[in-house]
Amino acid sequence: MMEPPFEIEIPRGRVIEVQRDDSRVRRGGGLLRGMAVIWKHWKESFRLNRSYSQIHGTFTIQYPEEKPRIPEAYRNMPILLYDDETGHELCTSCFQCERICPPQVIHMTQAKDPATGKPVPAVAEFIIEYDACMSCGFCAEVCPFDAIKMDHEFELSTDDHAQLTVHKAQLNRPISYYASIAPTMWAEVRESALKKLQGNIRRRPDVIGIAPHLTERIAARRAELAAQAAAPSPAAEPASPPAPSAPTEARKLTPEEKAAKLAAIRAAKAAQAGDGVTPSAEGGTPAEAPPADDKAARLAAIRAANAAKKAAATDAAPAATGEPTTPTPADDKAARLAAIRAANAAKRKQAADSVDTEEGS
């Protein structure tokens, strides 16, 4: 027997030497004790017992027939969410997930407005290489729009390697699906996610940002609504002043409503401009109207809203000093955007002018 090595006082504990019992003579006793343990377990193994506080009984899950209980936080592969009602995807292609992805398996391209070629807050194509994804969950963690979430699906095996490069069409899941697999985690972010989505929908022209498999359906529905709205164009005149009120309602607009409103505005404009100027507006389908028209209508709407707001502000300013008017964020944002755009246009014009003068001199 060796002496204990050192006697050390350690804070909040002792150094203990393990009991070896080398000297005890054994004639198979230890072996039998071990066998007794195994015997007990064998006897109990016919009983199903999934309690954490029990060490006996079997807790095997008969897998293909019986699915394992998956906790809410479980993360396997990333998926993209879209809104059930409107079909709009939550993703705005901000590239945060692409940047943070440790194995760099996320690739995306931003959607562009077909009319102006300017990027819009929507994603054109989104690819995740599932075969190289390490399921770390960073993409879901950084996503400011809660557009990318981790799925619970784990039966992903396939005999085709190419299938593991997953495109947006296969990544899309409705919000209701995610809410069903992770109810509390979705409840935490629901408010802000939907609010941000509504803000983004307003900046998305046409069907951009709508889940691909819903695009056609929603476009068809829009055309139908637009046709309905455009047909009685002179009669729609009394209803033409919705333009100022549009932004306040815009937060709750479904695409159908939006399309209808747009069509109404367009019809009103056409009516104002006179029948001779835009004969196609009545005869042709308004849904196929050139996007420039669409844009002009929207701009007009924004301008009208701004004017209305400005008027309201000037009206309210002298009176309501105690209770400042708090414009809804959406309103505010639209106004600011319009202001920024106007400033930019002015700047561009100035720059062009100065270039001209320089060239002239």
Partner: protein
Amino acid sequence: MLQTQELQVNIGPQHPSTHGVFRMLVTVDGETVVDLKPVFGYLHRNHEQIAEANTYLQNMPYTDRLDYFNSMANNHAYAMAVERLAGIEVPERAEYIRVLMVELTRILNHASAVGFMINDMGAWQTPLAFGMREREKILDLFEMASGARLMCNYFRFGGVARDLPPEFIPNLRELLVALPAYIDELERLLRDNEILLQRAVGIGILPREVALSYGVTGPVLRGSGIPYDVRKAEPYSVYDRFDFDIPIGKVGDVYDRFLVRIEEMRQSKRIIEQVLEQLPDAKGGHINPKARQNVRPPVGDAYARIESPKGELGFYLVSDGSGKPYRYKVRAPSFINLTPLADMCRGYKVADIVVILGSIDIVMGEVDR
């Protein structure tokens, strides 16, 4: 007189007893080991170089893949290193959650390490299943909290990724009821087993001085009789608030390491109980809300070490002020504990090599990086 000759034998790299891809070039004289040369690098995957190309946060999931049994412990060491580098405070509650996770990891690791060691002795599968059973339950808990069983990726700079879910604590309390019985049973199953005694007592002795000179840490060092534990020697996190003992061995053989691991599981269970007592009073949330995850630490370097289940795990980071580490170095306990393998094996039989290797408890993912 019989003409004898030394023979060189390769064990591995593809060998079921080598815990991964690891080759031992053994010189044998009959059945007796004359010399042994460990050859590793078969699982090298450029971990440190990849880390220097990644941002600090992106490295967190890669640390999971070092010692894939103890991803929580690896996360902890790395998070501590970055927090030291960037000067990030960790709330009290987060510290308790961290300690809780790392101690659960220790139980999990030791249970399976004992199981694998017995498996290497030839007791195929049955004791291993005993070692793995409670591990499953602990992995369930990890899954609840972090979302993954093995590659937890749970720690963040300044805390942990998300707070414990409501079902975690009740399940953990249930598990704590089972743990003492489980550890006792595992000990009763194996401790006095005559076959195990034959294979373990007096085998693979690592003398105290040799262990010290190689820089061995963890249960292997404590098995050799040196009461060195980073949790006591340099208390990090909130380890100075817990009562726990340091078990040490007498001889430094395979049997001592086995007993030290069993005892450490009991001590870890004690720590978890104390964590559960103190957790409700802990201040702060699960993460420091001011901590930025895309850190850009000031120019400098930092070293953080923890007592990982396998030994002293350290991360050394050098920052050049950018968002990526300029140098990233892992002090991997498995690697350093493996280096005295030749000294431990010399003079024993070929069959003992496998047992000795099993008693060191290595994970090749950490050895080769």
